[in-house]
């Protein structure tokens, strides 16, 4: 499963780095693609924009922040579910938001999990590792490959 890819959609460089650190500490050494806003995330997944014409590996799981520049996380989720090529990719919403509306909207749009990022690093690291292990190793997914 070493070729399984994680797409991390995160605009906060601190959180990005901490997430990567947590994965590393949890010995999850899969490749991680980082998109720093919603548009970039969709460009990667759909092979558009700066990713146009590039051979793209679809991720095994998307870790999606909600509060993002340009295009918000909920809209990214909506577009991902609407596209047959990405509709089945597990999406784990990872956010600082504890707003009830965000949680409900995420599930309605088809999120597979909703994880509130803990403030303490130990708890955060633990959460990231569990999410990684579960979606990369335990869970079985079907990835629809784009036509080359």
């Amino acid at each position: 499963m070493i070729d399984a890819l994680i797409l991390l959609v995160e605009d906060n460089p601190d959180d990005e780095e901490l997430t990567l650190l947590a994965l590393k500490q949890g010995k999850i050494l899969n490749d991680v693609i980082v998109a720093r806003d919603g548009v970039e995330a969709l460009d990667y997944l759909f092979g558009t924009g700066s990713y146009a014409g590039r051979d793209v590996r679809l991720p095994q799981v998307i870790l999606l922040d909600l509060k993002l520049p340009r295009l918000g996380g909920l809209e990214v989720l909506d577009r991902v579910r609407a596209n047959p090529a990405t509709a089945l990719i597990p999406v784990v919403v990872m956010t600082s938001s504890s707003q009830e509306e965000d949680l409900l909207a995420s599930y309605r749009l088809g999120a597979n999990s909703y994880v509130r990022k803990p403030v303490g690093f130990h708890a955060f690291s633990d959460a990231v590792q569990k999410v990684g292990l579960y979606w990369l190793l335990l869970n079985e997914t079907r990835i629809v490959r784009l036509n080359p």
């Binding site: 906060n12 601190d14 959180d15 901490l18 650190l21 500490q25 509060k67 956010t95 600082s96 938001s97 504890s98 707003q99 990022k117 803990p118 403030v119 303490g120 690093f121 130990h122 955060f124 690291s125």
Partner: protein, 684 residues
């Protein structure tokens, strides 16, 4: 005097001349019931004749025993009560009536004016009025009507009500029958004074006055006085005369009559004029009948040390329809005025003891008496005496030697002056009240506007606060995670490069970020509790407490804490919020028993002042009650963070939850002796 050993008798047995009380006039017919208690047959008969049986239900007795029996049979509206009775003191019956009956009937004492002290005693015992004998029957009737408020309590007849004033009995009967057969309700009076009082008491729709009235004021005087009275000036007046002369008519109309007719006029013409008059009659002014109305029954206090003069002036004034209260000295007059309201005071200048001028000065100093017109009477008509009298505050000054007609005219003038003053005062008060109402309305409007602005501001502030909460929730947490995460990374990856001091600093950074994180979480909880909609359901608090206890045990397995949770405590409220409240109270108790060998936490309920009071009690360190009022303020802490860590928000959260459930929360504690937190919830 009646045989007192005989069983109580009422008039039905001993007064055959009086009209029988038939059943149609019995109880329940709505007429005021008047009980006359007097041992004098003359008085009983006189009052019976004066009081119209169509207006009142009259019963008369001669002894207290008979009166008590009548009162027990049916409570009267008003009792006319003599004081000296064969079987006792009338004042005793008065006291009984006022002490035991509710509502107590009105009581009018009618007794010999022998001793001023009798009058004072009667009025102090609660009599509604005191009329001295010899009395004027029409005055008694007028007072009874005023006291009972006949005009108010009698059902307004479908037919317009007329007062007919005529001195000829034949003529009265003649016109009364014509008018009654035309559908009017007619009350008659045989002289001008009585007619005025009747009109004042009944407020008729029109008044018909004979121009020539023997032995008293004449028709145009009656009309002039009617037109001066605030309550009657708009009542149409029709003047009758035996001989219609052109010059007469002009004079009558000048006096204020609304119409003028000869007595020989045809019946149709009379009825047509009357109907037209009533149609055009203005409704009476909406001014309350002030007690100073000129035509009401008037009480005059006459003060003189000469019994002869008192008797003479009283007789003269009673003839005019005044009730006269007598006092023989300035001291007696002042005692009387404590209990007796009068409309006018006649005061002799030369008296032993307090002189007239001294008495006058005292009266005019008292705010409650100052307004009563006061006339000084003197034998000496000297220039200086007059000046002294007027200077002591008297309203007028009259020589005793002068004709009584002068005294009567001056008396009437003073009463009229008082009335117009009262009217002006009423008008001023009315205007002032309107001003006040307008000011009040303006103030209300301004308050409403200010409130609307405040509400808008408050809503804007609330929105800001929510936005702030969101920002706190989202934006503050991320940098905090960075602080914690990178300090952690530093510790784990660069441990070997750091000396002990460096590691210590990093630990301090880590702990600080944890505390800040907890603070943010608690603040968000607190704000959510206030905003969250309350759902109400039946909640088993005992189950919640058990869950919380096992969570606390699981979190801190190293501690030994005994929980005593009363079973099956149910309440109606928001399950989620009640859990947070109990959670905070239990966590508090858990924390503050941390240093006890045998910690014990109790949850139960007690009944206090008819309320269910829930409580969480611990045997921990407690606190000084001097700080009890600060407990529920956010961020307020009574213990050092080293000793017992915490954010100081938990109890504020508990309080908000309890308040949202319509309850109260409070704490009792002593240092070293544990604490009890009690709360109530609105019973649903």
């Amino acid at each position: 005097m009646a045989d007192t050993s005989a069983p109580p008798r009422t008039e039905r047995q001993d007064e055959q001349t009086a009209p029988e009380r038939d059943s149609a006039h019995g109880p329940g017919n709505g007429k005021p019931r008047i009980l006359i208690v007097d041992d004098s047959l003359t008085v009983r008969m006189d009052l019976r004749q004066t009081f119209d049986t169509a207006e009142f239900d009259i019963v008369a007795c001669e002894t207290l025993a008979a009166a008590r029996a009548e009162i027990a049979r049916q409570a009267p509206s008003l009792v006319i009560l003599d004081v000296l009775l064969p079987d006792g003191d009338g004042v005793d019956l008065l006291r009984e009536i006022k002490a035991t009956m509710a509502p107590a009937p009105l009581v009018m004492l009618l007794s010999t004016e022998a001793e001023v002290s009798d009058r004072v005693r009667g009025l102090k015992t609660g009599a509604d009025d005191y009329i001295g004998k010899p009395y004027d029957a029409t005055y008694v009737l007028a007072r009874v009507r005023e006291l009972i408020g006949v005009a108010a309590c009698l059902p307004k007849p479908a037919a317009p009500r007329l007062v007919l004033i005529d001195d000829s009995a034949t003529s009265r009967r003649h016109f009364q029958s014509i008018l009654e057969s035309a559908g009017y309700s007619v009350v008659t009076a045989e002289n001008g004074e009585e007619g005025l009082r009747t009109a004042f008491a009944l407020r008729p729709d029109a008044i018909i006055v004979d121009h020539f009235l023997a032995g008293g004021i004449d028709g145009d005087t009656v009309i002039r006085r009617l037109k001066q009275d605030v309550t009657l000036r708009n009542t149409p007046c029709l003047l009758f005369t035996a001989s219609a002369k052109d010059g007469e008519e002009l004079r009558m109309l000048d006096a204020g009559a609304d119409a003028f007719l000869g007595k020989e006029v045809e019946v149709d013409v009379l009825l047509a004029r009357l109907a037209a008059l009533i149609r055009s009659g203005n409704p009476a002014l909406a001014v309350d009948a002030s007690p100073s109305s000129l035509l009401g029954a008037k009480k005059v206090l006459a003060v003189d040390d000469s019994i002869t003069y008192l008797a003479e002036v009283s007789a003269q004034l009673r003839k005019e329809g005044y009730d006269v209260v007598q006092a023989h000295s300035g001291k007696e007059a002042l005692d009387l005025l404590e209990v007796q309201i009068v409309d006018c005071i006649l005061l002799d200048v030369l008296m032993p003891g307090l002189s007239g001028n001294e008495t006058c000065r005292i009266i005019k100093k008292r705010p409650s008496l100052r307004g009563i017109p006061l006339l000084m009477l003197t034998a000496a008509e000297g220039h200086e005496a007059l000046i002294e009298g007027i200077e002591s505050g008297a309203d007028d000054y009259i020589g005793k030697s002068s004709d009584f007609t002068v005294l009567k005219a001056r008396l009437r003038a003073q009463l009229r002056r008082k009335q117009s003053e009262d009217e002006l005062r009423l008008i001023r008060e009315e205007l002032l009240r309107k001003d006040l109402d307008a000011a009040q309305a303006r103030a209300d409007r301004e308050i409403a506007q200010a409130r609307a602005v405040l509400v808008d501001e408050l809503e804007a502030k609330n929105r800001e606060l929510e936005a702030f909460s969101y920002a706190v929730s989202h934006d503050l947490r991320a940098p905090l995670r960075a602080i914690d995460g990178f300090s952690d990374a530093l510790i784990s990856q660069y441990r070997d490069l750091l000396d002990d001091k460096g590691k210590h600093y990093l630990r301090r950074i880590h702990e600080g970020s944890l505390r800040m994180g907890q603070l943010i979480e608690d603040l968000l909880d607190l704000s959510r509790i206030t905003r969250r909609a309350l759902s109400r359901e039946r909640v088993n608090l005992s189950d919640l407490a058990l869950e919380i206890a096992s969570e606390l045990r699981a979190e801190h397995p190293q501690r030994q804490v005994e929980f005593a949770i009363a079973p099956d405590l149910a309440a109606v409220g928001d399950r989620h919020l009640l859990r947070i409240a109990l959670q905070n109270l239990a966590a508090n108790a858990w924390k503050f028993t941390g240093k006890c060998q045998c910690a014990r936490i109790e949850f139960g309920v007690r009944q206090q002042d008819g309320e269910r009071v829930y409580f969480v009690r611990d045997n921990g360190v407690g606190f000084d009650m001097a700080y009890a009022d600060k407990l529920f303020t956010p961020f307020q802490r009574l213990h050092g963070a080293q000793e017992f860590p915490g954010t100081g928000i938990g109890l504020a959260t508990v309080q908000r939850i309890v308040i949202r459930h319509g309850g109260r929360v409070w704490a009792e504690a002593a240092v070293g002796k544990g604490a009890t937190f009690s709360f109530t919830l609105r019973e649903a």
